[in-house]
């Protein structure tokens, strides 16, 4: 509660943008990359709340991304009616942005692992910090993407676990992980040697700190994903058994 007043100060202005879809491409089964004609400023780690009209009672949170350092993009996994609307509509998308805190890494010696649903963010971070992009997917990726963007792809749970153990013994200072909660937890628990950052997925109603709906338990008590995150240090979310070397 101490930082309640600090939080209030942190608030910046949010704007609702109308975005025209440029390209909608399938990344993998049920998951799409959408690029837009328009652009606005944001920083790595930030997200937006997409209005889905009558297809949902809340705006829907999506991590912002950028391709080739210029094209605004999001990636969307069809999870229900709202995401289906986002992928399929021919209308402009009404998007509230930029929300949440930027992710500012302590060095450029990191790597980013994303699920296909967070590929736009992955590409953005990789290009922006000039770090390796790794995609962990349950299903094979569309060949096009693998070629167009520099990335390593790991398909299936076993491959993912091997990857984590490889990275745990790598020279990277930090690893950024964005995907499902399970995937993020596995990353944190299986890379105890590393500083792992995770982008959390709590259910959001407002996205701007008003509703207090997106609470998560951290080792420092309740935090809110939309105003304290969405990116957290993994060891703030899950207890990590540090190995004594």
């Amino acid at each position: 509660m101490a930082n309640f007043s600090a939080e209030l100060k942190k608030q910046t202005k949010y704007k609702a943008f109308l975005l025209t879809k440029r390209i909608v491409e399938e990344i993998t089964q049920n998951t799409y990359l959408i690029t837009f004609e328009e652009d606005f400023d944001f920083l790595p780690g930030q997200f937006c709340m997409v209005s889905v009209g009558d297809a949902g009672l809340t705006r829907k949170p999506y991590t912002l991304g950028r391709l080739n350092k210029r094209e605004l993009a999001i990636s969307v996994k069809i999870a229900g009616k709202g995401s289906e609307y986002i992928v399929k509509t021919n209308e402009k998308l009404n998007v509230l942005a930029p929300l949440g805190n930027p992710f500012i890494p302590e060095s450029n010696n990191g790597a980013v692992i994303v699920a296909p649903s967070c590929l736009a963010e992955g590409i953005h971070l990789s290009e922006r910090f000039d770090i390796p992009l790794i995609v962990a997917s349950k299903t094979e990726l569309n060949e096009k993407f693998v070629k167009k963007f520099k990335m390593r792809v790991f398909v299936g749970n076993d491959e993912y676990l091997n990857l984590l153990s490889e990275l745990n013994h790598s020279a990277f200072d930090w690893i950024f992980v964005s995907g499902s909660r399970v995937m993020e937890e596995l990353a944190v628990k299986n890379m105890p040697n590393k500083v792992v950052y995770v982008s959390l997925n709590e259910y959001m109603a407002c996205g701007i700190g008003a509703c207090k709906g997106c609470a998560v338990e951290t080792v420092h008590g309740i935090k809110h994903v939309c105003t304290d995150g969405p990116v957290f240090r993994g060891d703030n979310i899950w207890q990590v058994q540090r190995h004594s070397d």
């Binding site: 709590e202 701007i208 709906g213």
Partner: protein, 289 residues
Amino acid sequence: MASSKTLRLRTPIVIASGPGGFGEYLNVDSIDWSYVGAYTLKTITLHPKVGNKPPRIYATDIFMINRIGLENPGFVGLKKILDSGELDVLLSKVPAILSLGGDSFEEYVEITRLVKPYLDKFLAIEYNFSCPNVHHGGLSIMSDREEWRKLLKAIRKETDAFIIAKLGIESGFVEEMAKIVALEGWNGVTVINTIRGLIINSEGQVLLGGLSGPALYPIALRAVYEVRKVLPDIFIIASGGIYTAQQAKEMLQFGANAVSIGSALFQNEYVINKIGKEIVEFLKSEEKQ
């Protein structure tokens, strides 16, 4: 007993306590605040509350369920924001209503006493007697009707502010509750609050919380109608599932003095402008006649 205060809102549209937080929507560009008569702040309790454990919210097509648990910085937090002038940005753009809650008789009375020095900043105080998401207070303060009546009396004695009781529909027939409120000299009621619901989210977690959104609308409209029928003079704020100007108009026509926009903010906060514009025009055209 009743204070002679009246409540004149520049428009009959208010932001609901909770969904609007502590003014965060002022950071969203393009909302025209001249359409809003009052911004009701998130309920403040005497002591700070960290709120419930996550998950706290889940929505379907027709309703949402939240179990925030009145997370709020308590009176100390409120005092800090008020003393520091932080809230002045909000207050310069839109009048505000203070929402107060508590876990016991004593807490309600105590916070009423403590906020006194700040009352010139607010149009009114709304007392949340019906939050379904806290264990003490909220629901249970109304389970014992005699106790609750005493509390109404005690608060009325403590303040001459314009005081509004926010009522749910589960502690007794809402019009009977409202009659008690009026009898104790209060100025208004907000009807209704969320109704207790249960939902299982996509992760299989059980959420016991309050139901808001579209499914609430016909129930809230009926409550407004019933309360107005028995209390011709009380100030009524309608709350529950208002998403369109048409619904706002119906609420006004069935007796509400103002309508509250809550969950609809989450679908698209632009709803304020949409409803605001149409309602302001509607009232102008009514006036002409």
